[in-house]
Symmetry: C2
């Protein structure tokens, strides 16, 4: 299997780790605790491009990602009210799942966050805290 | 199990059928072939509120919904370029998954569609065609 994340992900997110199926990235936007999961399946664009076994694994890794997003929110002092999960891919087609945490008092609530910049890069301290939570999760 | 779709879904979408896990609705917006799947699990708000078995079933029903969305797009003469799939729930918290088809020449491409009205209700003929495709799928 030849897999590499689309270079478009390098701008705006940071490679953190690999789980059994997915390459895991942290979106560098301190407005929202936000992970991107990219299944390491060469050429996959839609859910239907994965096997049923891969899809089930993606779903479980999505739940795992949601738990971590909640923990990052708590660590940063902004507990999550609602998870938002999506596979869109209109801009970058490589199959990827966004998992992010929203608060009723966040600046975009209740609108979706995609395409709604500008991102607010993490401070170095907050980045270390977020990385800790991913490593623990 | 006591399940009823949130009344908010009645405005803007039409109940079509029930699959093994999900209540299936057609969004009444002819701009995009668009299904809403609502797991019939009382009180579920997040993916984590379902069992792993229910989540795997939701994922497979999501893929099934994507195939139908593609077929509705073809039937209406506007084949889908990209599926968009999301569980957001900021406005209506009851767990539900949007599955919709985008085209590179659609009026909102590449932005997400949520919160971007106004909807364009189906003609009666197009509605019957869309219902046919769901029944066949």
């Amino acid at each position: 299997m030849v897999f590499a994340p689309d270079p478009a992900f390098v701008n705006g997110s940071i490679a953190v780790t690999d789980w059994p199926l997915c390459h895991v990235r942290l979106q560098d936007d301190g407005r929202f605790p936000w992970l991107i999961l990219i299944p390491r399946a060469e050429g996959a664009v839609e859910l239907e491009d994965l096997s049923a076994e891969q899809r089930a694994l993606l779903t479980e890794e999505t739940v795992r990602g949601g738990r971590i997003v909640r923990r990052i929110g708590e660590r940063l002092g902004r507990p999550v009210d609602k998870l938002n999960t999506a596979a869109i891919g209109n801009v970058t087609a490589q199959l990827h799942v966004h998992i992010l945490g929203r608060r009723r008092d966040d600046p975009l609530w209740p609108d979706p966050v995609w395409g709604r910049g500008p991102a607010l890069p993490y401070s170095s301290v907050a980045m270390v805290e977020a990385m800790d939570e991913i490593a623990a999760g």
